[in-house]
């Protein structure tokens, strides 16, 4: 059996690549190491009756053209909106953002009339900036070191696009690309808890604090989802995040792709600089004209290939590519919902997120711990109760609680052990307990995932949720390495399509789609 293309890794990007290739009539095989597709976008019944979006838990960045091209709603994709964000404060007060714009404004006004005024203008600017950056997400990054006509034209187009924004917005873009989220927000707002909560989306997945330059870009990266697609908001996939992967897999199969689970690949075979196929861990050899890896750059180039198959300076660049996983996840099965001191009882607040980011200093202190190799004693957390929105996630009367936690450094002093993992879990639930006394008594089961666990289960190097840090020097034509940001690799017929390529992380699928388009443009195997 010979395939036109073999895609290594059945995460959402691998599946998107496979779907687009199959849609173009290619004979495609997807090889997934685990028993189920999805990678870090999986739903698993960790405890009987309790289903969890084990890793990635919210959806919003998924590119609308992918939803459209692959007709994902027909394959079962259904997004339920996340309605609010409540930040409990240390003094017992709270800051809330609701689905209703006027209500949010009134709430902000309570904290600061000035900030309530600035809020709309800020929203407009971010909306515009996200719009301005979006075309870049769908663009193959031109190489500024190349004199090829295609690259020059790409650079020129880029230059024109940015100049077209006009002075004020161009300046705002430069600021977003270079500033810390705390400094950027300082120019707009005075309420500390507001700045803390907003800046938190600038630290997700990074090994940086809110006061570190570079975090404003991540802020924008996360803002892009807020206006995309049909739902214009962060949301849950019905059935958990795994349902997104299942929908893409279903679309790929409908186009004729074959998906094989429990099929770990040990290496990519190549003859005289051209990929010929893959060897599975069980020794089976599969031949294909095109091989695509949707794994992260480190695994793609340093594990699937032998170093002598690649130029040494390229290998050096890949070794230099930074992962530094900094996030953990705690999944809880509950027999009842916690009541938060700031907003007692159970109510609509549980249909949204709770952000544990009471002040900028709080989040910054959380980073300080991680900087010196410890997990945060009082971490930043993003808490949601998926069973409140999709009751199918837990048995009747019971709930699931998902806690995204930062910071948990991959390189922990002394290394991660079972005891350290539990200590980390304790720090998380004890911190929640401070804001919601009595919460711990509702816990039936607890799953704690450290960056090391994320790496072991999903394969993401160092547990980095973006398959490589979203730092300015690892974006665009530098992602994953200069000269190799266009989905090709130094090995002919071998392509990369994971989040470690442009434009990077989140359940976005853009890398997978751009890679497929590139492969088809190159002739796609035949």
């Amino acid at each position: 059996m010979r395939y036109d293309a073999i895609v290594i890794g059945g995460g959402h990007n691998g599946l998107v690549t496979a779907a687009y290739l199959a849609r173009a009539g290619k004979k495609v095989l997807v090889l997934e190491r685990r028993p189920r597709v999805g990678g870090a976008a999986v739903t698993e019944e960790i405890f009987p009756g309790f289903k969890f979006s084990m890793f990635s838990y919210v959806v919003s960045l998924l590119r609308p053209e992918i939803i459209r091209d692959l007709d994902l709603p027909r394959h079962g994709l259904h997004i339920l909106p996340l309605e609010s964000t409540v930040t409990p404060m240390e003094n017992g007060d709270y800051l809330a953002a609701w689905a209703d714009h006027d209500e949010t404004r009134r709430e902000l006004y309570r904290h600061s009339p000035r900030d309530a005024e600035a809020y709309d203008e800020y929203g407009r600017l971010m909306h515009f900036m996200a719009q301005a950056v979006k075309p870049i997400l769908s663009m193959v990054p031109p190489d500024p070191t190349s004199f090829a006509p295609g690259d020059l034209a790409g650079l020129l187009k880029l230059g024109k696009h940015f100049r077209g924004l006009g002075g004020e917005r161009l300046h705002a873009l430069v600021k977003l690309m270079t500033m810390s989220s705390a400094d950027f927000l300082d120019e707009w707002f005075e309420t500390d808890v507001l700045k803390a909560t907003k800046s938190a989306s600038g630290i997700i997945g990074t090994f940086l604090g809110p006061r570190s330059p570079g975090t404003a870009y991540v802020l924008l990266h996360h803002y892009m989802g807020e206006l995309d697609g049909v739902f214009r908001a962060w949301g849950f996939a019905k059935g958990g995040t795994g349902a997104v992967s299942e929908a893409i897999a279903s679309a790929a199969r409908a186009f004729g792709a074959e998906i094989r689970c429990d099929a770990p690949v040990s290496r990519v075979t190549a003859r005289s600089g051209t990929a010929t196929g893959v060897v599975l861990e069980n020794g089976d050899e599969l031949a294909a004209d095109i091989v695509v890896s949707s794994l992260d750059p480190r695994r793609t180039f340093l594990q699937l290939l032998e170093p002598d198959q690649l130029p040494p300076e390229f290998v050096a660049d890949i070794r230099r590519f930074k992962f530094r996983g900094s996030s953990g996840k705690v999944n809880l099965a509950l027999d009842g919902l916690p009541s938060f001191t700031c907003m007692p009882g159970v109510g609509r607040q549980h249909r949204g997120a709770f952000s544990i980011s009471p002040s900028l200093d709080y989040v910054e202190h959380a980073y300080d711990d991680a900087k010196y190799g410890e997990f945060s004693r009082r971490p930043y957390m993003d808490i949601v109760f998926p069973s409140m929105i999709d009751p199918g996630m837990a048995p009747p009367g019971k709930h699931v609680m998902s806690i995204f936690v930062q910071y948990a450094p991959y390189h922990l002093n002394g290394g991660w052990t079972d005891a350290k993992r539990e200590a980390f879990g304790d720090a998380v639930v004890n911190t929640v307990e401070c804001f919601a006394p009595g919460f711990k008594s509702h816990i039936l089961h607890r799953q704690v995932l450290t960056p090391l666990d994320i790496e072991r289960i999903t394969g993401l190097s160092e547990g980095n949720i973006f398959a490589g840090e979203l730092a300015l020097h690892q974006l665009f034509f530098l992602r994953p390495a200069p000269g190799w940001a266009k989905f090709t690799t130094p090995v002919r017929g071998f392509y990369q399509s994971g989040s470690g390529t442009h434009p990077g992380g989140g359940i976005m699928g853009a890398s997978g789609r751009l890679a497929a388009l590139r492969i088809l443009k190159d002739g796609g195997g035949r």
Binding site: G167, E168, H171, K175, P213, R320, D361, E364, H473
Partner: protein
Amino acid sequence: MTQSRYDAIVIGAGVNGLVTAHFLARAGRRVLVVEREPNANAALDVGWVPPQVVHELDLARQGLRITQPDPWIAAPLEGGGRLELWRDLDRSVEAIRRVSPADAAKWPDFCARMRKLATVLERLYVAPPPDIESRDPRELTRIAGLGLYVRRLGKQTVIDLARVLPMSIAELLDDWFESDALKGVLGAVGVWHLKQGPRSGGTAFNFLHHHVGNPIGVFRPPVSNIASVLLGLPGIEVRRGQEAMPVHGPDGHLTGVGLGPHGDTIEAPLVVTSADPRAAFEHVKPDLDPEFVRAIDNIKCRGVVAKGTLAWQGPTSFTNLCVAPSLEYLERAYDAAKYGRDSERPYVELRAEDGRIEVHVQYVPFRNGDSNAEHDRELRAAVVGVLAPHVPEIKAAESRLVLKSPDQLHLTEGHLYHGELTLDQILFMRPVPGWSRYRMPLQGLYLCGAGTHPGGGIAGAAGRNAARVILKETKRS
């Protein structure tokens, strides 16, 4: 219309103000410089003096001396002894070999890569910043020329520029070196005058900014007597001990400068101020565009450096001494500043001059007036505590050490560079986006200080750039 005695008034007799004044005077303008401080500063000036300034003002013949000590830095080592880095690459390699043979092997290559990047900055610094919004074909040609120039330096330089500038100095150094002592010495320059630690993005740029104009392998700017040479040059009038601000008449037009809060006005059609932008416009603010004022008020200039002087007779065991034993030491020093406290163990650097030792202490955050004699004492004790193991004789001299913390520097938030050199505050973003070409939004008013491109730590580049723009824009009929 009354005829004023001066064609131009320059506020501030710092290096940039004096350079602007002399360039204007050479073009035949009658120039008055007004300076707040009654006495000239005795210390030497730190920073690259661009050869264009030296040449065009003929400073070499006026006694300009630019010096760079050799070794250019000495850093105490944990186990005793010092790491000394020299202008001679081979000599540095020998010295580094004693702390890490691997680092020694990489030193020449590292120095060559950094030198090349600094070359790009040097070219950018001796001209007004590229105006990326411009539709003027001449400006677009200039920008294209810059782009071509950079690409001619080679593929690696383009990649390095894109990759290194946004990086943290810690990441850059960790990519190359293993020795804590070496990384501490180099990392310290990366945080100079920034309220950032070595792990913050953009500090690699700040490192390169201070490499500009230096020979290969030297990562401390030279010192010079440029201010005193400029003061000695004929052609301008300097008035000391008077605080001046741009003022305008009832019709909103610039009239000249006002002396003190209620003092006289000296009239002139052109006012150039080298003051820090946040303080420069106090009297004319109400008539400026509110968006411009908002941008000015948003300039980040969080002072974190205390400057000190210690009168010293006799020899010292060093010329430049750096106490920043590791990147982690610097990062921990920064942690305190994040929360508004002085570093318990600050980064301290000493520079011996004739009869004095100049002291750089970081981090000492601005306290907005909440500074008192007790703070001074604590700060002095902290500095002496850090230095004593390496320079024992400092203990006896503690009472002579005069430290000026940011609150005592008479600058907005005590920032010596008039605005932090972070990536969002350089080039066409400095001092504020859209107003990077020295002209301010009031006819006849210009900025020429460290708050403008290319910023602090460079002697006279901003002053010269500003003067050239002014002369072009105010050609006399």
